[in-house]
Symmetry: D2
Subunit: 264 residues, 4 copies
């Protein structure tokens, strides 16, 4: 019945009346006014500030998923805002909740897949053989390979092209980028379909190159979309669309069943 | 019964197979690899990229609220994560939901108050008279003045000091910063308490100086905390505290009522 | 620096290996298999089980807000589900987040207004005078009277009619129901518009009649909608509409701005 | 480029000025004042009202998960409430977000497992062989069998005992209840540990017996907890614990790292 108590400890931040420490930096002196928001995000994820190349790459990754226009998460956020305009934070939260296995969260799948196939990036590996194995295994269990294909962006996803270009310029591209591209070619050969590396696949590969844990991959998309969702809510406040959309849906969705009451 | 249909329109972003446009910029060519995450956030909020001074100020504002250690929102996020570790986005969302009128969302109150007192920043206004009026009105309706005081950071909030210093260096400080500071002095004189401008008050004033709508104020805090919350969840995954905290709360909270069943 | 520790205590429930106590009842022996879900909700809100009349009234109130078809909250929930189908709880949560001041949460406004006007239901009050005062005060500050009017249900809201009928049959109707109806008549006379007591106004009045705190009013709507939202998500899983809706919105919303890149 | 439009349709509810139809029932005439909240939940999930036995069973299931005291989801909800007391719905939503694979959502795992093992409840199946196979397969892939074991409730979970008793009394118990119990015995024999059918395992089995889709299993827990969470927030409003809990966590968690600034 007597439970052994364990420690409750967080090493992220502390504060005194005069100072706030964040991962060993003085928030006001070392960070505010000196460091950009993307580098602060890198600090939150890794515990360290990035060097110049890493900063450029990491900021580019974050920018990738900020905005893709009217997508399910932005619709959910706007629909929430019109019911609770006093709680903008709730509308953003509603938009984030859909970033699961189907959208954005799929970065995680690609990162996990690549890291599992190649645990040590310095190992001397046959990347073609790994790519073939990945595609074969997914086909055998009728699973889709994460990080490939896009309904709109074909035959290539311009975001992946740009991310891989920045990765090359910054010296961050390595075996995971290479492997992800081989997986794409292998999958295209096996299926005859256009299956380019999409933005979430590219981000998954770059998360591995940068040595981040795969759990971080989804987190980067969440940070990015939080920024974009605020923009959508401010637009909804200025130029509303959600009331109109609601009425259209209601009019169309329930028209056929009107009047059918049981036993009448 | 026939409803007049209105337009559904968003001017934020569009995409074609080859390109994604965001506020008139080519996402991959103009933004990714060139612009930092804070500037992208400014673009999301205002529709334009910032100049160098505005960028420095805006990034500093965003950094202010990323991290304040173990606060209610980080506890809520961690508690959510241990029940649904497969849905990191939900844990972040849970953490954001508490950014209401009491914490972080209070930026909004300060921005509204200052903008209402001084609708035109170029008007020739008696700031002392405005500050007195603000404090008097809040005292009359027994309301607290938003943006003043902090349980830990006294006699000054180091984040406000730093924000106002950056505002001066970048030429962004103006009548709203001035007014907010006079409101603080006036409130301290009227109450005899230590009521420095806190971080949310400083951000409220700077949102006004930058010409952002007051609705944006809360949004900046939401963006910032989304970043910090991802960091907390990654730490919870590496070094868990929430199971321990849960058991401690459960043991203490319900101990006194054990065994009291009605009629037994 | 040394903080005085206060107690952490909850009197709602406790558990031992063999038993779970909830508000003094043995969950498995006294409640499960004996008590309906609405009565359990009443126990959660008040700490006691209801008598037969109160049970009938309370269950009727809960039923009122379970379902109103395709409304903003159901659209938000479905849009969330298609991105994270592995997290049904997150889709329900997204749907609940819009139950703020505009929809459903407005029960709270009516309850607060009535309770403030008539703190003691046994007092000998001039209800007509109170109704006139309520309407006059709202008109003076250009505020809408909570609990009146509905875009679809006119000249009466059938849910209020039914709720008030059950209130009469169960002996629960009293001065708050009376006052709410007078407020409606007064507002209609003052504005010349159709402003019947709507469902949220009726629930607000009944929350007062039952002696519940006004904070409970919004909570009843939240419970009710959680039930309805699960139904919508199960329908979305069987007969999807959200992908189609997303594509329609995307096609229409961004069509006009395609191709306008700055400086090109 | 031209997309084929498909139908947007929901058969759950419709409304006219005078009437609201829900699954073919007149909400105000057929349901309000006649049907309890649990039966309305059954209608939301299945599209039909339950008979007396089904009603008793379904209400008992819903009651099971309403309340288990101070658990992670109730802590998350309370922590959210103190930051945004104006948005009770957001606090409830925060509490629901943790109902994932670890807690409550595990009902789903049990339902899926049983339905996969025995797709047709009328089939003449060797339940012992199925139970052995389930346990063996889970052990081979080092997965835990869903629906078994509880940290507090041992050697039996009193909620399962009660649910199975009601299932027997109502004639709802069948092969899935039987199979779930055999799986428990088999797992206990294989591991030597106490692995009774827990509440989520019992609910998973009963969801199968009642012919509900496995997706509904998690939904029942979500409905139930929404009710319990409202109760916790009302208690937090009356007797706060979250501010105290926050300060304790903050004091303990960050004490060791105070003062360690890099390069100082």
């Amino acid at each position: 019945m007597t439970r052994k108590t364990t420690e409750i400890r967080s090493d992220i931040a502390w504060s005194t009346p005069e100072k706030i420490g964040v991962h060993g930096y003085d928030l006001t002196e070392d960070l505010m006014g000196r460091v950009n928001f993307g580098d602060m995000a890198y600090l939150s994820v890794t515990g360290d500030l990035p060097d110049a190349n890493t900063s450029r790459m990491f900021n580019a990754i974050l920018l990738t998923l900020v905005e893709h226009g009217m997508v399910p998460s932005t619709i959910a956020a706007r629909m929430t805002y019109i019911g609770a305009p006093e709680s903008m934070q709730a509308a953003v939260a509603a938009g984030l909740l859909g970033l699961g296995t189907v959208f954005v969260g799929s970065t995680e799948g690609a990162a996990k897949m690549l890291k599992a196939a190649l645990p040590d990036p310095k190992a001397d590996a046959d990347l073609d053989a790994l790519a073939q194995q990945i595609v074969r295994e997914h086909r055998e269990r009728k699973a889709i390979v994460p990080g490939l294909g896009h309904p709109v962006h074909k035959p290539v996803d311009p975001r992946s092209v740009r991310l891989f270009a920045v990765a090359k310029e910054t010296g961050i591209a390595g075996p995971y980028v290479d492997l992800m591209q081989r997986v794409s070619r292998e999958a295209e050969a096996a299926t005859g379909k256009s299956l380019p590396v999409n933005a979430t696949g590219a981000i998954g590969a770059l998360v591995c190159e940068m040595g981040l844990p795969w759990e971080a991959a989804r987190g980067l998309g969440v940070m990015a979309r939080a920024v974009g969702l605020v923009g959508h809510i401010l637009e909804e406040a200025r130029r509303p669309m959600s009331m109109e959309l609601w009425h259209r849906v209601e009019d169309e969705a329930s028209s056929e069943v009107r009047g059918k009451l049981r036993g009448k």
